[in-house]
Amino acid sequence: MSDLINASLKELSAALAQKRVSAVELATLFLDRIEQLNAALNAFVTVDREKTLAMARAADASGKVGASDTPLAGIPLAHKDIFCTEGWRTTCGSKMLANFVSPYDATVVERFKAAGMVTLGKLNMDEFAMGSSNETSFFGPVKNPWDTTRVPGGSSGGSAAAVAARLAPAATGTDTGGSIRQPAALCGLSGLKPTYGVVSRYGMIAFASSLDQGGPMAKSAEDCALLLNAMAGFDSRDSTSLERPAEDYARDLDKPLDGLRIGLPREFFGAGMDADVRAAVEAALAEYRKLGATTVEVSLPNSGLSVAAYYVIAPAEASSNLSRFDGVRYGYRAPDYADLNDMYAKSRAQGFGEEVKRRILIGTYVLSHGYYDAYYLQAQKVRRLIADDFAAAFRQCDVIMGPTAPSVAFRFGEKGADPVQMYLSDIYTIAVNLAGLPGMSIPCGFGAADMPVGLQIVGPWFAEAKMLNVAHRYQQATDWHAQMPAGL
């Protein structure tokens, strides 16, 4: 039974289909681990054993377990607390929503329910997904299971820590500037941010609407493919959801990699990367050459501007999105105020944390009269240049590879004083969001202090199946993805 904590989703699916384990037993196994280990990691903000077991009982009775169109039925899954889940508290890591019990399900949650998956609980995150270390959560930081004095990354840090510590077989995450890939890298997981528009944003609390995209975080590329099959699809309730034919993202997993052309952007292999990260990434590239791939140097000349463009565009969109938190329809309301405007200003000042307020103020400023053209419009033009660079690079290669993050997981407080230092943790991931491309991180070794290193794989628009193939073949040849933190 306890070996099931390391099982792949395919293995769990088979165990359920063969009645070697029931959905209730599987849910209980993980609920017990959460009870035992969550206090040390702070990965979950909400656990509700009764609700989870009720879902598991329903899955056992549903006839979905073992059916070919619902291969994930009966398997537990935990959601980043940015996804609205009906009847569950949905906090987005904020005091603003600390008591918000969602009256509806996000489309992603609804789709996983329809697939028969069992909700294990809600996962901690940086407040409103604004952060790269999980230190901005109102509920306290998540600890990295590989070393609890270090950050798990962010903003999907709870998702990464929970799966790395085997408190959940898989989790959902969201990625606006690297929030799936960077924590996946720092915790030794596989995580995929799909092409913008592939996964519905309905019920996923908005941060920067033109960049936000949900995706799976799991122990392997194969698991990510199965999860994406359930997660992706057109949704009329998301105005930027794409109408495309359904895809089986696992269809190409086993294809050989002979002739694969890997582009290596010279800007991703410059001075910014730590030596231990570079060594692990270089070793992964050597492995890919053994698997039949060739590498070619490409250039993304404007990618150095991506963090700056992002910190105009994302705060601008956030300041607009977060104006809905006004203390009237839901969320926190200040206890004392003089009038309506004072109620808004006090509720928002008390309900939001420091980083969220900083970004709202920056966003308000760059959108304000007289500054819009200089900042917001200019950033959108630079965004076009960045996206065009990728389009040009993909004429020379099938996928792009590089580091996911410039260093292994850093210690708590290490990047505390200067917000810009923290922003630079996402230097390799942000350009991908600006371009709307699919991006992945997979474990490719260990660096300083035996902490995991992530390899980033970026594909052309809608190349998820190809990227998953590229990741899966590497995971067939190596076992970095199967490593688990000691002592858990």
Partner: protein, 95 residues
């Protein structure tokens, strides 16, 4: 250019965020740090470049003007700080 304390107070008012006198200076310094970082965008020549508002070119979808959602007012108002008879309550706006 860098922001003054008056600028910070003006932006905070636009954003409906109470910034106390004690926080204002620290906020000003941090915002100026971020603004000086994003200043690098100004030196990029973007003549003739079309701004990119979205990652994928999409056109606004339209749907028939028909009721698509069920009435769930009670459920949605259950999470509001203060309601009465189906209405959201706020401090008096008009004397």
């Amino acid at each position: 250019m860098s922001l003054t304390l008056d600028d910070v107070r003006r932006i905070a008012r636009l954003a409906r965020l109470d910034v106390s006198a004690a926080e204002a200076e620290k906020t000003r310094d941090q915002l100026n740090g971020i603004l000086s970082f994003i200043e690098q965008l100004q030196s990029v020549d973007t003549t003739g470049i079309e701004p990119m508002a979205h990652a994928v070119d999409v056109v606004q979808r339209l749907r028939p003007d028909a009721v698509a959602e069920a009435d769930r007012r009670d459920a949605f108002q259950a999470v509001a700080p203060e309601t009465e008879a189906g209405l959201y309550l706020v401090p008096k706006v008009i004397e």
